[in-house]
Each structure stands twice: as structure tokens, then as C-alpha cells.
């Protein structure tokens, strides 16, 4: 693929460009595969790192018939509001309200676009909510220290599912991925705040001795490097 013609851009594309990554593409979006040597990034991943995952396609389905429709489509839905489960292939399903479900594909799956296509021909009671969230992944043993500077939620008491909160003043949906260790967190937020939050978090990550890393550290087989 000619990366210059990628139609989709991350909300923080310009911030990433300043860091001079090795580019690849996932889901028709230009993505940073690496900023440094692979070994350094793997080390950072366990210590303290920030990664942009905005490329992963996402959508929400909402409405009184939404749960039934998803069940018919074979999509597992968590029982509790704010609960989370796997969509398969590194995808996620998060129940964000009584009748609203957020879905995100992994790097290799296309379930979101399939569902969107199926929904176009559906009748009432189920509504598609387009999602363009900026999405980040904060990982490492010191990741909770970054949150301690930016978020008033106590992650030493691991929540059950996602938390709707503010991080550095920006409203976010936040999911601890490894609640017991408090060492990996996903963020989703309005894309118009994406650059602000990326820069705010990266500054703190740098202060704490971490850095930005690319998608290769998490999905090594998926990104195609630039020509």
C-alpha cells in the first residue's frame, strides 16, 4: 500500500510524525511500528511506555434492540454495565450502558466493519454510533505512577471493567488490562482532545523515564513497514 494515500489518519498523527517513527499500516491507517530498536521498545513496554492504538476500528451499537441484535450476530456482551470481554482476535467488547455496547477490532479482525454493514439493512431499535476515538495504551511497571499524576481513580483497588473518568482533565474511558498488577491501561477519548492528551501523557512518561513505542511491540506480525 502506498502510505501517502492512506485515507485514515490517527488523531495524533502529527504528534507521532514529530517522533520520526518507522511507519507501517494497519486497517488503512498509517501507524508507527517502531521509534527505536525493537529490543529497547520491548524493554520499555515492561517499564513504561505509551502507544497509539487509534488505528483499531471501533463502533458502538445502541438502542432497545441492540443486545438482542448483537446476540444474533454472535457477539458476546458483558452482563454488567462497564463490563468487558473479548471479541476475539485481540478485539474488545465493552458494555457502556444498559443498551449500548462498544466494539473494537484487533489489528487483524474486521468484525466492526462487518457489523456496520449488517446494521445498514436492519430495521428499528438498533442504531449505529460511529466512533472515531483516539485510543492509547499505557503499559509498564510505572504506568500507575503516570496515572497518579493525572487521574483521581485509585487503581490499587482494581475496578471491574472500564472506568469513565478524567485523565489530565480530558474525559476518558479507561480500562485496566492487568488489574492486579496495575501495569497496563487502555484509554479512549474524543479525538479532538487526542493531541492534547497524548502530549500531556508523553511528557509525564518521559519524566518518569519511559517513552513512546510502536505497534510492533504488541502486534509484531501485523504492521507492514513503509517502502
Amino acid at each position: 500500500m502506498n502510505l501517502s494515500s492512506s485515507i485514515r489518519r490517527s488523531p495524533v498523527h502529527d504528534c507521532l510524525e514529530e517522533l520520526h517513527p518507522i511507519w507501517g499500516h494497519i486497517h488503512n491507517m498509517k501507524v508507527p511500528l517502531r521509534f527505536k530498536e525493537a529490543a529497547s521498545e520491548v524493554k520499555l513496554k515492561s517499564e513504561l511506555s505509551l502507544c497509539d492504538l487509534s488505528c483499531l476500528p471501533k463502533t458502538s451499537v445502541k438502542g432497545p434492540e441492540s443486545l438482542a441484535w448483537l446476540a444474533d450476530a454472535g457477539i458476546p456482551v458483558p452482563e454488567n454495565v462497564y463490563g468487558c470481554c473479548s471479541l476475539g482476535d485481540d478485539g474488545l467488547v465493552i458494555r457502556t450502558d444498559r443498551h449500548e455496547v462498544f466494539l473494537e477490532d484487533g489489528p487483524a479482525s474486521h468484525r466492526v466493519s462487518e457489523l456496520e454493514h449488517e446494521l445498514r439493512s436492519h430495521s428499528s431499535g438498533v442504531y449505529l454510533v460511529r466512533r472515531q476515538d483516539a485510543s492509547f495504551l499505557l503499559t509498564g511497571a510505572r504506568s500507575n505512577a503516570v496515572l497518579r499524576e493525572t487521574c483521581g481513580v485509585d487503581f490499587s483497588q482494581p475496578p471491574d471493567g472500564v472506568v469513565m473518568t478524567r485523565v489530565a482533565g480530558a474525559s476518558c474511558m479507561l480500562l485496566p488490562l492487568q488489574p492486579e498488577e496495575a501495569s497496563a491501561f487502555r484509554f479512549w477519548l474524543d479525538p479532538s482532545y487526542g493531541s492534547y492528551l497524548w502530549n500531556a501523557l508523553l511528557e509525564i512518561v518521559h519524566d518518569q523515564g519511559g517513552d513512546a513505542i510502536g505497534l510492533d511491540a504488541f502486534f509484531p506480525s501485523f504492521g507492514q513497514p513503509t517502502q
Binding site: I7, R8, P11, Q132, R148, G152, A170, S192, S195, I204
Partner: protein, 976 residues
């Protein structure tokens, strides 16, 4: 170090580590652990600073942040509290508020001028003659204030941090340590904070020689340190108490925003002074300060001291002084019967003469006021008045006061505890505490070592139980037993004054008396007029005595008096701690970088950054903006309108919902069409506007103003619930980008990128279509905010740059030009379009804004209809009109908010105004009286320097009033 004592058990200094520092240009040596004040005192330095108003010499007085006698500054920092700030190698400080140094302060003469500087003098002087006020102001600014700010100081980051615990304990004295251990042993997470560098509180200075006290201190400390669920933090101040047990903790590097589930305040008490003449001079200090000097820092506070006591603490202090080798020629006890405990005998046995029922009338100063030479004592009559005829003088270089305490209850009050004055104890005690807040120890009115420990134990258990710990029932709290540790009125008038109530502000006893005489006899007024309690110590050493004086003068009782409000912070904190790492969320559209690359000059629009205009080399701002306007009128322009609010409303009740929310009619709006929407609140005031596009029978896509999206979405959700309507509402503001392609060539640019049929017959003005633009699914609205043929394109944010770039490429042959907010404002004004929030205010209703056409009063219902029905029956008091200046106008041009004047009275104001390049003249909108709104009327507008200019009321739109620019025939014609 002439006043350094031999090593003291439990001292806080490390004599193996010497530290060099500088004060007022001279080098000194102290030990690690010394504060600036203690290290200087060890060298015999008594004068640490100069008082605020009178520049009197001041020295150690409380040594615990109750006063600001020792305020110093370094090159990096100002207003450093010398009493508590540790010395570090190479530290260089000097006293604040001096002219020429602390020893030779040129402003010392202010003390002699004090009769001319009574309370509130600045309210009565310096206003005449008025021409001298700038002179007075400059002099006042030079004299007032304390430290100075160094603007070249290097930047330090002090990022804040969140933290959490089950139980927070404030204070590590007997009650605090006991409470922390007790709560932690109950199984909950406990954090104990102590403002000093060592744990122990009064253990460290009042009980330092008491074997029982020392053992208990060691035991509690060992238990505390062994508990894994108890964290101990020293040098940390709990500075503010906010809702839901949110506490601001301040240490040297940061503010920690702590959320606790319950809080125990065991912060002890502040020792209170007696008020007598020269009670502020170096050598006069609180007894606890002297004890701290001895036990914590190994410094002899005096050679010979007179102790003024009204409780057993004073007797204990006397014994400490004797043990430290200080001569005590007298102990004056304010109480007629003296001390009932065995301490009295111990003091006598130590050779200290005790004078019961006796007070200190005056401290006799040495020349220069830099120290005292003697104390004048006198017996008191049954009313507590001094019997001067029987006074006697005792030579001394110090007076130690131990006449009472007031609870350190700032945090309790901030936490909404209700306090009451206890006559039994002569202090305030907690009467009612909110859930989750507990008090223990002396702040709770509990004295006696055993009782304090027991009180802390109980508080710890209660706090742990509040957090859900299952514990066996505790015993009852110990009672608040007397005798009172505080004298009811340790205040002695003197004809020559200089008996200070508030050292920070140099407030004497007569200042309070005079203020009350002048009518400021209410606590709030007295405080603000006299400024007692308003200095850096915030009344810690002065509030109680000032209240006592006020009550005596106004015949009130302390029990009945309502205290002033306690607000954060308990101690002053650095502004840098408050600033922390500044988080200032702002929003950007996905096209932000493209705007930067095109030379945009950005402006703030709410919390968005938007291009104000695009800079052009060699052109001024105004020229660049006018060029953008001309490009849109004559060719084609492209503007990023992604900041518009965008709401998707779907569901079986969607149409009915829209019909109720907005003032217009939408039930019969066909899918594929749009309509202007106007939103009012229930009072009929306009709050927002936009465009509603009907995408399907049950699907609407609605825009709002940039600043209104969140509020409108919230309001819509609320109404949906109130009305029980079946809709799905999504705030898609950030999800979609939006751009407006406008101008005579806009259609030709767009049709090269889409298969949508753009023919006006199939895609009329105000239509909406869903299709693809440059391969991206989009919604295209034919709207005319800027008054030209145009398309507003809404598409997923992640594809915005792609589509923008394709449009720019496609528009190259037509000289497509991006335009910014300023150009858009001119363009819309030329069309007479109103901007909500600029051309409307918090009271504007549609009828006075000329928007009757948007309001369908005959609908069954819409929000605000009822109020508008009432307003429609009333005559208008103002109306929004268009105006223009003559094309030949020279001279000043009106600005927004300039007033319209009629017969010398305000008749209205200008809301929007600009030079129109299209029309070649200044145009604008203004509110005027209804009788001025006739077309052709002349109105007067007052501009700068009260000049008046004439304008003419004209019809709007100013440009293309017949809307011909939206007809196909006009699409490619330039403006004539």
C-alpha cells in the same frame, strides 16, 4: 555557637554534620536538622526580622509557624519561614521587609510614627489631594508587602499527585500516633502525616524530660513503624480539607491530592500569648518555643527567664529551663491560687520563686529594642486588673509565656465540624462532626498524656469502623476534664501601648478598642478593618485574644459569637505547588496541522483552537482577512467548521422531539432537507441555534454552535427523560469533521470529487445528501451561512485530511483559498446572520432579535413557548437592527459593545461591526430603542474618547438581500 547546649536526648540535630549558611551577608555554622532560626539563635542572634508596619525587631516567638517574625528570602525563593525551614549547605538568606538590613533597618523610625498610623489609617488618609494619589500609591507599594519575587528564578516542576487511603491521621503527637496505630491494627490502610521533620508532636518538647512520656513515645513509634498498612510521612502539611474527605497534602516537592475514606484530626493546639507592653520583642516567646529550642535543637533560649504561667505546662517549662541551665528568677501565675498539681512544689524545690495572682505588665526593652532587660510584674485584683502600685521589676533577658492554648482546628472547620466554646476549658472544642471526620487529643479538648492516648485509640477504632472494619466495641471517649489550660483573659492594657495582639500585622490592643469605638463592632467587620488574623499566620496566635477583647468591649459572650469562616490553606503554600503541571485541555480539529502548514494564526474559540486567518507574507492581518472574504465572494473558499456541535437524534420519537425542542416547525420537514433551528430556554431566552437535517423518517442530524454542543446535548437528554420520549441521542461533535466549501465555483470544485448529483434541481438550497466525497462517506448540506453557494461537508474525523487535501487539489484551478474565522464573521455579517452569544445576550428573546420568522407560536408546544407568549404581548424595549456608516466615513469606527446614545441616555449597544470589502463601507448590528429602528433612521454611537459618530439604520441582509447567490444563474457571476 555561644548558646548551643550539650546534646539533648531525642534532639533533632545531627552534630556530626556541620552546615555552612549565610544570613544577612554573614556566614554561620549550624548542624544538619537545624532550622535557620535555631542555628542563628545558637550563635546568639536574637533579631531575625522586622515587623510589618512598625519595623520593630523581632525574634523567635513560636518556632512553630504561628508567627512570621522570621521571614527570609533567598535568590530562588521568598517568604521562607525561618522557624521551620532547614538550613542547607550554601544557603544564603536575608530578612524580608527591611530597608538596609535587619540590623540597620532605615524604616525603624516607623515605630516612632505609630501614633500617626492608627488602625485603618489608610482608609482615612491618602485620598486628598487626589493628584498626589499616584505618589502615595508608589510609596505604599514600596512599604507594604514582605518578600520580593525574583522573575529570573529558574523554573521548577512540582507536579501534583493523587493518593488514596482508608484513614488519614493528621498529627503525630500522643493522640495522633495512638489513633494511627489503632486504626491500622483494625486492618485498614492508614496514612499519618506530620508537618515537622520528626514524629512525636508534643512528645518531643513538652514531655522530653518525662520518662513516662519518652517510653510511651518510643513504644507508639515502634508499633507504628512495624505496621505494613500504616504509612508515615513527615514534613508534610495537611493544608486544606475539601468535600468528601479530599485533603491537600503539601511537602517540599509537590501537592498530593489525597482522597481518604475517613480522617482523624489530631493536630493539637497552638499556644497562645499574653498581651502586655513589648510582648513582641526578641526574648519574649511562647514557653513551648523555648522548650522546642532546648529539646529539639539543643539551644539555650535565654540566660534568665521570667515564666508567665496559667497552667501546668508553664511549670513544666520552668523545670525544663532550670535543667537546661537557664536561671528562672520568677514564675508569675495569673491564677490567684496558682498550680494545684505537684509541679508547683517541684518548681519551688528547684529554687524558682512563684508569684500567684500575678501578671507581667511590661517587658522593659534595652536600647534599640533588640532584646529585653527586665520584666515588670504586678499582682492582679479580683477582676484581673493590674495593681500597679505593687508592681516590681525583675531583671531577665527573656519572658516565656504559657497562658493558654487554642485548638489547631482549621482542618476541622474546613471539614464542616461545628465548634463551640467551652467555658470549662476556655477553648473551642468540636461539638458536632460530620460522618467520617474524627478529632482526638488536645484539638478535641483532651489533655493529660494518658487521656490523649486513649482518645486517639478510640478515634482510630471509630475511623476504622467507619471504613467497614469489623471491630469490637470501644470504650467511651475520655471526658473533657478541667482545669482549664487557658486563662480567660491574659490581656493587659498599657497607656503607652505596644501590647500586641497580632504580631503579623502589628495590631495593638488599642487598635481593636479604637476600631470598635468607630463602629466596627461585628467580628467580620472588625477583622477586615483592623486586619487582625489576616497576616501570613492567619490568626493562629491572635484570633482568640481578639475575640476576647471584642466580647468584653461589646458585652458578648464567646459562646454566642460565630467564628469567621475557615478556608484553605491552613498554612501558606507556594504558588508553584498549586500550579503543578498545568493541565489545560484544548481541542483541535483533525485539520489542525494543515492549518499550521498554511500559515494559520490561531485563536481560542471556547476550548478549541481555530484559524483566525491565514497569514500572507507582506500583508497585514486586515489585508489577509479581506482577501479571504473576496476569495469567497468571487471564487471559492474552504473553511474548517469542525468545531460545530453535531448531534445525531434517532428513534420513533425523533421528529416529535425536535418539534418540541426547537421553536420552528419540523414535523413535515422532508428527508433530504434541512431547516434552521433556534433553541430557547423556558424563559424564552435564546440559547443556541444551528441546522437540523432530516436524514430519514426517524433520523436527524443537528448542528449547534461551537460552544453549545455539550450544553445542548445535556439539555436534550434531560428533556427526553422528562418527556419520556423514545429517542437515541449521540453527541458526535468530535466524531465528525466538517468543512464548508463556499463561493461561486464551489459546485465545480465539488463535482470533480463526488458522484452525488449536485444539480440544483436535485440538490436544492437547504438540501442534505449522503454520499461519497473523494471516496469517503459524507453528509453534504447546502447551507448559506456566508451567503454564497456552498456545501457543508461532514465526514468521519479520521478521513478529514484526505478530503481536505483532495478539495484543495481540485480547487487549484479555481484559486481555492482557505479562509478563517474572521473572514467568516465578515461574510455572515454582510448577510445579516446573527451569532448567538455575540448578537444575543443572556436576556435576548427572538422578538427583539428580529427572529420572529423562526418562531412558530401556533405549534402545540416548544420549550419557551409559554414565556414567549407573554413576551409577545409586551412592547419591545429594544430591537436588533442593521446599521451602516457612510461610504465617505472617516474617523473612528465603532467597536463591539460601543453604546448607542439617544438624548444623552444609553439606548443600546453595537453587537457586531466590520468594514465590508464587498460593500465598501462599515456595517454592523446594534440594539436600539424600537422607535429608532425605522429604516433610514439616524443613530448616534459613542466611540473612544466619548466621540460620537452617526450611523444609519438599514435593511438586512446588507448583501444579496434577495438571496440571488443561491440561485443557479448567479452561481458563477462575480459580485458587481
Amino acid at each position: 555557637m555561644i548558646d548551643r547546649l550539650p546534646p539533648q536526648t531525642g534532639e533533632w540535630i545531627d552534630r556530626t554534620q556541620k552546615v555552612q549558611f549565610e544570613f544577612e551577608g554573614r556566614q554561620y555554622t549550624g548542624f544538619a536538622g537545624d532550622t535557620i532560626s535555631t542555628a542563628l539563635r545558637a550563635h546568639g542572634i536574637r533579631v531575625l526580622g522586622r515587623s510589618f508596619k512598625y519595623h520593630r525587631p523581632r525574634g523567635i516567638w513560636s518556632l512553630s509557624n504561628l508567627d512570621c517574625n522570621g521571614m527570609v528570602e533567598s535568590r530562588q525563593e521568598t517568604n521562607i519561614r525561618a522557624d521551620v525551614h532547614p538550613i542547607t549547605q550554601g544557603l544564603s538568606v536575608k530578612a524580608v521587609n527591611t530597608f538596609g538590613g535587619v540590623d540597620r533597618d532605615l524604616a525603624a523610625g516607623m515605630d516612632w510614627l505609630s501614633p500617626f498610623l492608627p488602625v485603618g489609617f489608610y482608609y482615612k488618609a491618602f485620598h486628598t489631594p487626589g493628584r498626589l494619589f499616584p505618589f502615595y500609591e508608589r510609596r505604599m507599594r514600596e512599604m507594604a508587602g514582605l518578600g520580593s519575587v525574583n522573575p529570573k528564578k529558574s523554573l521548577e516542576h512540582t507536579p501534583k499527585r493523587y493518593d488514596f487511603c482508608d484513614v488519614l491521621v493528621v498529627g503525630s503527637g500522643p493522640a495522633g500516633l495512638s489513633a494511627a496505630v489503632s486504626a491500622a491494627e483494625g486492618g485498614v490502610q492508614v496514612l499519618l502525616v506530620e508537618e515537622n521533620s520528626r514524629l512525636g508532636g508534643s512528645f518531643c518538647y513538652q514531655m522530653a524530660r518525662d520518662p513516662e512520656g519518652r517510653k510511651l513515645h518510643a513504644d507508639l513509634l515502634a508499633r507504628a513503624q512495624s505496621l505494613k498498612n500504616l504509612e508515615l510521612r513527615t514534613s508534610t502539611v495537611a493544608a486544606g480539607y475539601y468535600a468528601d474527605h479530599w485533603i491537600a497534602l503539601i511537602d517540599s516537592t509537590r501537592m498530593t491530592k489525597l482522597r481518604a475514606r475517613s480522617v482523624i484530626i489530631a493536630s493539637g493546639c497552638y499556644e497562645q500569648p499574653a498581651v502586655f507592653r513589648n510582648n513582641d520583642l526578641p526574648g519574649v516567646m511562647l514557653a513551648s518555643a523555648a522548650q522546642r529550642l532546648i529539646h529539639q535543637y539543643g539551644v539555650r533560649p535565654f540566660r534568665e527567664v521570667v515564666v508567665l504561667a496559667a497552667n501546668s505546662d508553664g511549670y513544666q517549662a520552668a523545670l525544663d529551663f532550670v535543667a537546661a541551665g537557664v536561671r528562672v528568677p520568677a514564675l508569675a501565675d495569673l491564677r490567684p491560687h496558682g498550680e494545684p498539681s505537684p509541679l508547683a512544689e517541684q518548681v519551688k524545690a528547684a529554687g524558682v520563686p512563684i508569684h500567684n495572682g500575678t501578671g507581667v505588665y511590661e517587658a522593659i526593652a534595652k536600647l534599640g529594642l533588640r532584646s529585653i532587660a527586665a520584666a515588670t510584674l504586678a499582682p492582679l485584683d479580683s477582676e484581673g486588673r493590674v495593681q500597679l502600685t505593687q508592681s516590681f521589676r525583675i531583671a531577665c533577658d527573656g519572658i516565656a509565656m504559657s497562658v493558654g492554648w487554642t485548638p489547631a482546628d482549621g482542618l476541622l472547620r474546613q471539614g464542616r465540624a461545628r465548634m463551640r466554646y467551652s467555658r470549662k476549658l476556655e477553648q473551642y472544642v468540636p461539638e458536632k462532626l460530620p460522618a467520617g471526620l474524627f478529632a482526638a487529643g488536645r484539638v478535641n479538648g483532651i489533655y493529660g498524656l494518658k487521656e490523649q492516648v486513649e482518645d486517639g485509640f478510640c478515634a482510630g477504632r471509630e475511623a476504622a469502623a467507619h471504613c467497614g472494619a469489623r471491630l469490637a466495641d470501644t470504650t467511651d471517649r475520655p471526658p473533657r476534664n478541667g482545669p482549664a489550660r487557658s486563662h480567660a483573659y491574659p490581656i493587659f492594657p498599657h497607656p503607652k501601648g505596644k501590647n500586641f495582639l497580632d504580631l503579623d500585622e502589628d495590631i495593638q490592643l488599642k487598635d481593636i478598642e479604637h476600631a470598635v469605638q468607630e463602629g466596627f463592632d461585628n467580628l467580620e467587620l472588625l477583622k477586615r478593618y483592623s486586619t487582625f488574623g489576616m497576616g501570613p499566620s492567619q490568626g493562629k496566635h491572635s484570633n482568640l485574644n481578639a475575640l476576647r477583647v471584642l466580647c468584653r468591649l461589646t458585652n458578648q459572650s464567646l459562646e454566642a459569637l460565630e467564628m469567621t469562616t475557615a478556608r484553605p490553606f491552613v498554612n501558606p503554600i507556594r504558588l508553584g505547588h498549586l500550579a503543578g503541571r498545568i493541565f489545560s485541555p484544548h481541542r483541535q480539529t483533525p485539520l489542525h496541522e494543515r492549518h499550521k502548514q498554511a500559515g494559520a494564526s490561531f485563536m481560542q474559540a471556547g476550548n478549541w483552537l481555530r484559524p483566525e486567518y491565514y497569514t500572507v507574507p507582506g500583508k497585514t492581518r486586515q489585508e489577509a482577512i479581506l482577501e479571504e472574504v473576496t476569495a469567497v465572494r468571487q471564487r471559492v473558499g474552504l473553511i474548517d467548521v469542525g468545531t460545530l456541535g453535531k448531534l445525531e437524534i434517532s428513534g420513533t420519537d425523533a421528529a416529535a422531539f425536535i418539534e418540541r425542542i426547537y421553536t420552528g416547525r419540523f414535523a413535515k420537514l422532508q428527508p433530504g432537507m434541512t431547516r434552521y433551528v433556534l433553541m430557547c430556554e423556558e424563559s424564552g431566552v435564546i440559547i443556541d441555534d444551528g441546522v437540523a437535517a432530516r436524514l430519514g423518517p426517524d433520523r436527524f442530524y443537528v448542528t449547534t454552535t461551537t460552544s453549545g454542543s455539550d450544553a445542548v446535548a445535556r439539555e436534550m437528554r434531560r428533556w427526553a427523560i422528562v418527556w419520556g420520549m423514545k429517542i437515541v441521542l449521540v453527541n458526535a461533535t468530535g466524531t465528525y469533521a466538517a468543512m464548508n466549501l463556499a463561493g461561486p465555483h464551489s459546485r465545480r470544485v465539488l463535482e470533480s470529487l463526488t458522484s452525488l448529483d449536485l444539480a440544483p434541481e436535485t440538490f436544492p438550497y437547504l438540501g442534505v445528501r449522503e454520499g461519497e466525497i473523494a471516496g469517503v462517506a459524507a453528509r453534504v448540506l447546502r447551507v448559506g451561512f456566508v451567503g454564497e453557494w456552498g456545501y457543508e461537508i461532514h465526514l468521519p474525523a479520521d478521513s478529514a485530511v484526505w478530503v481536505w487535501d483532495r478539495l484543495m487539489e481540485a480547487g487549484r484551478d479555481f484559486e481555492l483559498q482557505p479562509f478563517g474565522v474572521e473572514a467568516q464573521r465578515i461574510l455572515r455579517l454582510e448577510k445579516g446572520h446573527v451569532i448567538i452569544g455575540q448578537d444575543t445576550d443572556g436576556l435576548t428573546h427572538p422578538f427583539e432579535a428580529g427572529m420572529n420568522w423562526a418562531v412558530k407560536m401556533d405549534k402545540p408546544f416548544f420549550v419557551g413557548q409559554r414565556s414567549l407568549a407573554i413576551l409577545a404581548r409586551k412592547p419591545l424595549t429594544r430591537t436588533l437592527v442593521g446599521f451602516s456608516l457612510s461610504k465617505n466615513h472617516t474617523g473612528p469606527i465603532p467597536k463591539e459593545c460601543h453604546l448607542v446614545i439617544d438624548s444623552g441616555e444609553i439606548a443600546g449597544r453595537v453587537t457586531s461591526v466590520t468594514f465590508s470589502p464587498t460593500l465598501g463601507q462599515v456595517i454592523g448590528l446594534a440594539y436600539v430603542k424600537p422607535e429608532q429602528s425605522k429604516l433610514g433612521s439616524s443613530i448616534e454611537i459613542r466611540v473612544e474618547r466619548a466621540d460620537m459618530i452617526r450611523a444609519t439604520v438599514v435593511r438586512t441582509p446588507f448583501y444579496d438581500p434577495e438571496n440571488l447567490r443561491q440561485t443557479p444563474a448567479a452561481a458563477l457571476q462575480e459580485v458587481s
